[in-house]
Structure formats: C-alpha cells, structure tokens
Amino acid sequence: MHKFLSEGPLTAEQLSRLMSLMKDRSDTGGHSLFIGQVRADIVNNKSVTAIEYSAYESMVNDEAESIIAQIRTEFSDVKTVEILHSTGIVKAGEVSLAVMVSAGHRQQAIQACSKTVELIKERLPVWKKELLEDNSHIWRENRG
C-alpha cells in the first residue's frame, strides 16, 4: 500500500528520490512538482516558528488514493501522481508537502499537479497547529 505520510519535515533525500522516479519512463515529456514549505508568517504580532501537523492516517490513505484516481480520470495523459505529506513538527523554512505529476505533455502535467494540490487542501484529513514564538499556538483552517 502506498505511503503518503512521513514523520517530520520532508528531506532533500525524499525529494531527490521523488525526482528520480522521473527517469523510469520515456513516454513522459513533462513533470510538474509542487513543494509546500512552512512560512515564518507573523500571526497576532508573533512569528510562526513551526507547524505541527496531525492526520487521520487510514482516511488520508483512502482519500489520497481517491484523489489520484480522480486526477487520472480527468487527465488522460497523466502517467503518475505522487503525494507526500508531513506529520508532526515541521519548522519554518522546512518542507511539508510534495506533489509530483508526470504526463506525456506539459499542459496536462501542470494542470493535473495544480488540481492535485487543491484536492489535497480540500480533502486530506490533516490538521495544522501553528506554533508561535511565545509558545502559544493557533489552529489554522484551509480557506477556499
């Protein structure tokens, strides 16, 4: 079974491994990657030092599979969709999400990657707690 969640920040090795998957095919002409990183936003005049992600793992796996199936139906030129999301604490400047879509042609790769990211925000049962510099925290919801 596919593993979509990864404890802690996504590492350079994990991202390199993701990109090395590109090499396996000669029927793909375009790969679109999205990398989500934790920003040191200012909230209530305090700096965000990290995000603590929690997830409902079994449902994440079901929903991620369902998102990938939907993308493959909507974008017939798509060959592979890879999703990797952090759980636990990810500090500002570290990476918490990676999506890679490979397709025969560039436009389907780019559009399908963009749609996958939107569906992840909308449908993956993941929650984020922004940890602030004074040790307070805020539960953040995704907005439209």
Binding site: Y56, M59, W127
Partner: protein, 77 residues
C-alpha cells in the same frame, strides 16, 4: 455495539482526548448525544463525522468495531 471514537485537530485539544471506546451504542445519533453530554464544549466547533473513513451526514446504525471520527475543517498542505 462497541465503537471507537476519535477526535482530531482542535477537537482533540478541547476534549482532551484522541481516542475513546463507547459501548452499547446503537445509532450515530445516540453516540453524538453521549459525546455532547460528556464534552459539551464541542458544540462551539465546526466538524464533520466520518464512519469508517466515509463522511456521514445523517443518522445511521452502528456496528461492532465501527470507527467514528470527529473531523474539524481540514488544513493540509
């Protein structure tokens, strides 16, 4: 019926728990009543309920081993 109840995100914080077993539960509305009796603070939060990973808006009969999850708005990515 014995069911597993899970709270996520801010609901885990306000209920002080992530996981509870409830016994003798027949329907989802029974369960919701028992949970709001025990954790009245959750009425102030938005959430949806999933039974065995599927969203459930209406009442339904529960079976032994069902997993009932209380899910605040998602914030992945």
């Amino acid at each position: 019926m014995d069911v597993k109840v899970m709270f996520f995100g801010v609901l885990a914080e306000v209920t002080g728990t992530t996981f509870l077993n409830y016994t003798g539960v027949k329907t989802l509305s029974d369960l919701r009543q028992r949970i709001t009796d025990r954790h009245p603070e959750i009425v102030h939060y938005n959430y949806r309920i999933a039974v065995n990973n599927l969203f459930t808006d209406d009442d339904c009969t529960l079976s032994d081993g069902d997993e009932v999850a209380f899910l605040p708005p998602f914030a992945g990515g």
